[in-house]
């Protein structure tokens, strides 16, 4: 037990930090974190069942009731855990789909970088590399594209991840509850420069967002 405590302390340090799914800063990320904890609970229950069976396999032969161990625990209990986690996954999945009004931005990827487009309110777009500027407290729809190979847009504290696929536009919803700086990166290995394929999401106070966008460059069209 004395050895286990430092081990769990080290493991749990991974639950926070700028790239942690378990430190959500918006409603979409909160739902995903909730699902993650639910799946962890389900996998713990199934692991405990398997470990009990492993322990029971050692030692002298014993008489067990097959109706309890095979039918109730082996079949129905496992199916119940899987059904609950499947249902939770469907419930969360339906609620993070891109539906309804949102502020649209673009995220264009290539080997190895990101360029983000922001609406300037005059029908044009303001572009910047490596930074996505959003208003806090508003739902954002990110239109994700790629110029070359498959990348993946991922801001763990604000949303799930979605692939950037050449020749296709994928859409992802995210939202930051409060102004701040949130780390993002590609979640799809894409070659030697992959490690540097990071970006930052800057959530502004909604009143300051138009000025922040106006300060960005107007040129640099997407590839």
């Amino acid at each position: 037990m004395r050895c286990a405590l430092p081990f769990f302390a080290i493991v749990l340090t991974g639950c926070t930090g700028p790239l942690s799914t378990l430190a959500p800063a918006g409603p979409v990320a909160e739902k995903i974190a909730w699902l993650w904890w639910g799946m962890l609970a389900g996998s713990v229950l199934l692991t405990v069942l398997v470990l009990v069976l492993v322990v029971m396999a050692f030692g002298p032969p014993r008489v067990v009731n097959p109706r309890v161990w095979t039918h109730r625990l082996g079949l129905w209990f496992s199916l119940m855990v899987l059904s609950v986690t499947l249902g939770a996954g469907l419930w969360v999945g339906e609620r993070i789909l891109p539906r309804g009004d949102a502020v649209e931005v673009t995220a264009h990827s290539w080997q190895w970088g990101w360029r983000f487009g922001h609406p300037d309110g005059e029908g044009g777009w303001r572009q910047v590399e490596g930074e996505l500027h959003i208003p806090a407290g508003q739902t954002i729809e990110v239109r994700v594209t790629s110029a070359d190979v498959i990348h993946a847009f991922w801001v763990p504290r604000l949303a799930g991840k979605i692939d950037a696929i050449p020749g296709r536009e994928n859409r992802l919803r995210l939202r930051a509850d409060a102004p701040g700086i949130y780390a993002g990166r590609s979640a799809e290995f894409s070659g030697t420069g992959y490690a540097g394929m990071t970006f930052t999401v800057i959530a502004h106070d909604p009143a300051d967002w138009p000025a922040a966008i106006a300060a960005l460059s107007k040129d640099a069209p997407d590839d």
Binding site: L86, G89, L90, G93
Partner: protein, 97 residues
């Protein structure tokens, strides 16, 4: 060989229904970009036909207590369970992407 075929008939039927329903989902999404009511209805009908095919097989497959007799029936139940469980999400989820 005949016995082996009987054992595999349940999983094989699941495999075929899985291909048909997921293939339909891909076709509908590629063609219309969204699974609307009629698209979902077609998928559910194909899935329902597949599930119904298990009924005569379960009814006429010999039953018994010996392992060699029971395995084909177990295979059918596994195929039926897998058909219901693994295809349920694609039938109710509204996402194409």
């Amino acid at each position: 060989m005949k016995w082996l075929g009987a054992v595999l008939i349940g999983p094989t039927l699941w495999f075929a229904i899985f291909l048909a329903v997921y293939g339909l989902h891909g076709l509908i999404c590629a063609q219309w970009g969204v699974v609307d009511f009629s698209g979902r209805a077609v998928m559910i009908v194909v899935w329902g036909i597949g599930v119904a095919l298990f009924w005569p097989l379960l009814r006429y497959m010999p039953a018994g207590h010996a392992c060699s007799i029971d395995l084909p029936r177990a295979g059918l139940w596994i195929g039926l369970g897998a058909t219901v469980f693994t295809l349920f999400p694609v039938l109710i989820a509204s996402s194409c992407s």
